[in-house]
Symmetry: C2
Subunit: 195 residues, 2 copies
DNA sequence: GAAGGGGTGTAGACAGTGTCTACGAACGAC
DNA sequence: GTCGTTCGTAGACACTGTCTACACCCCTTC
């Protein structure tokens, strides 16, 4: 009885719980471990329950990706808040971005898999925009002559490193890389560029 | 009868045909349009036939990805052969890399999806290594002081641009980008870097 | 307090998939 | 001509996403 009350009156609604379970499954078994039914099983509900919130498999994945973007944004915002010097802020931002991609490999991969982000793919990619604007502002603060260009250079470079690292391709190419030092030099390079 | 002879004596063995069909399906319906059974149907054979060559779904995808790497390598080699000046060679290489990623969006995405490349994932990523070594050599020819570092910078940057473009994320961030000009400036930037 | 109704989860069904297995037809070697 | 290998067929199974009808609980309304 108490259990029933606890379950039905759970402070965490099922939708949220399903996303959390999805992220656990993502860590454990990769992207294709995250099925509608697997998530339901993991959350202890019937196989049809998720359908109430995610009408389709892709919708579930999109929701998980969105939660990933939310976490990443929060990470980056706190990174910026932790420093005052503009260059240090850029460095911290880059560091956290890469740390996120390294820690949440599969989630990061999912976040940029537009092929399974359904209709909300557009919305999802819109998450990137404010993040990018932040980098533009940081570049301007750091004294870049053309902050927009510098930000684009930095962003694409960083994303390339993050992606290649998430898929472990960079190890094949270059062996062990001191990522922090590598990225610090890249930031200096792009900031000093005369475009 | 003639048909039978033609079919069974086909100059193109089934394995090759299945990969070709897989790439067509990839273009038409994205990655999850490429199923073992769908490929079999598309090639006009029974659903069990592919199993003779691809014991698993991932094995099929890995083979398709491998064929993509082969094409990309050929593209880049011919790009290098088409120029003599080292910097022009780098420019052409970058141009073709991005063109490939833009033209074969889904294939490119598949090629860097390590989660579905089975055991052969390691082999697959090894495709990148000779390509990278080529870029190192080009950077050296172009007079870079630390060709290895420059190549790594260039490679990650290029891959970032390619990825963000393939997923159409770059448009959201920066609108229409003149990719060729953008990349030309990036090459100059990295070559001139004092590390 | 009883009746009704909307939101929420259950349960059964269906087509489609990957994977496994047994089977058959074509072919070359001896 | 027979044997054995290679290659594709065909049926089965468990599992998946999706659809539908159903049951429950809480809330409003009379």
């Amino acid at each position: 009885m108490i259990d029933t009350v606890y379950m039905s009156g759970d402070v965490q609604p099922l939708r949220t719980r399903l996303i959390a379970c999805g992220r656990e499954l993502l860590d454990e078994g990769g992207i294709d471990g995250v099925g509608l039914r697997a998530v339901a099983r993991h959350a202890g509900v019937s196989h049809g329950a998720p359908r109430r919130y995610f009408p389709t498999h892709k919708a579930l994945l999109a929701a998980i990706a969105a939660s990933g973007f939310a976490d990443l944004s929060a990470d980056l915002r706190s990174a910026i808040a932790s420093e005052t010097d503009p260059v240090a802020r850029l460095r911290q931002t880059a560091h956290r971005y890469l740390a996120f991609a390294g820690t949440h490999r599969t989630l990061f991969e999912l976040m940029f898999r537009h092929d399974l982000l359904e209709g909300s793919g557009e919305d999802l990619r819109q998450h990137s925009k404010p993040l990018f604007e932040t980098v533009v502002a940081l570049a301007a603060d750091a004294g870049a002559a053309h902050p927009h260009v510098v930000a684009l250079n930095l962003w694409t470079q960083l994303h390339g490193v993050a992606t290649l690292r998430a898929t472990r391709s960079i190890e094949v190419i270059a062996g062990d890389v001191d990522v922090d030092g590598f990225v610090a030099r890249l930031i200096d390079l792009h900031l000093r560029a005369r475009v």
